[in-house]
Subunit: 210 residues, 2 copies
Amino acid sequence: MTTQALPREPRQDRSRATRRRLLEAAIDCLASVGWAGTTVTVVAERAGVSRGAAQHHFRTREELVTAAVEYGSEVRMRRMRAHLDALADGRPSTQDVVTMLGEMYTSPLFRAALQLWVAASSDDQLKAQVLPLEARVGREAHRLTVEALGADESVPGVRETVQATLDLVRGLGLADLLTDDSVRRTRLLTQWATTLDAVLTRTPPASSPE
Amino acid sequence: MTTQALPREPRQDRSRATRRRLLEAAIDCLASVGWAGTTVTVVAERAGVSRGAAQHHFRTREELVTAAVEYGSEVRMRRMRAHLDALADGRPSTQDVVTMLGEMYTSPLFRAALQLWVAASSDDQLKAQVLPLEARVGREAHRLTVEALGADESVPGVRETVQATLDLVRGLGLADLLTDDSVRRTRLLTQWATTLDAVLTRTPPASSPE
């Protein structure tokens, strides 16, 4: 019986699957109950993983949460890239791009990342861990957005406007934290797409002559 | 001796001053050590107020923090209004307005409010307390911004663009949480002022004719 009951998955795959389950459960947990309620033990329970197995992967909450936000960001970006690649003409409308960004920054992943940022803001050790991750994710989000918009960053003002788009959706993520802000957000992003089109296709208007 | 040692301030003024000291200390405390480290006892110590006196004003951390964010927002808005009223021609430049907003949303008050929002996102009782405050402060910030920009919200797209400006600076506040983002923010807001001027003074470009 004992030998027959051996799992069919190789050990490494099982370990990877366990890790992934923990990371996904950590994102859900952070997004719903917040930093204080997200311990390795609670996440292990949520993931249906034994406490021992969980602690084999992640010794501390900080480790688990940082890995979860990293994993979640990679998954999101990969999905966004796949979505872009799948488009027939290779270029989504500006409205599509800002809608996609709006969704990304109101997802459980954003809420989880927000918990991590806020915790890191008053914990220097955690901050040192989070900063390289935040920089990497920020760069990748910027690159994807430039590509999706077909933006030419050599045109003055374009780079700053793409950055502003990402800061805007980050602000929209915050505005969605306590209430469902989707109706206002949709109206706002529709207008943003119009503004963005104007900036991306033309140089900003020069100051009027004296 | 006892009668001579009576404080010269009337009791009510002293009580008000104590309350204000607690509120200010709570904002500093939240901004620097975060939600978990901000207890009534810690804030009382920071404010140089006895624990008993502090608890006379605020029974719980939640009460203290909500009152602190409300107080801080009122002070900020009053200062912004005074600043606007003091301008000779009554109208700051767009660049001045976005700079002022950028400063408001990267201040200790923003960091304190962020702690409160994030805590409220996983605490229904606190959320019920915070929502009316958030709505009131949001409306007032919007009204002040419209007034400062001299924006005509009856023009299509203007209302959404003013809202986007506030969501953008909220996002910039978040971007400043872990690192000093001031150089990037200044560049970004300078460009945003140009874009904003274009949207505020003209209706958005109609779609090009087929």
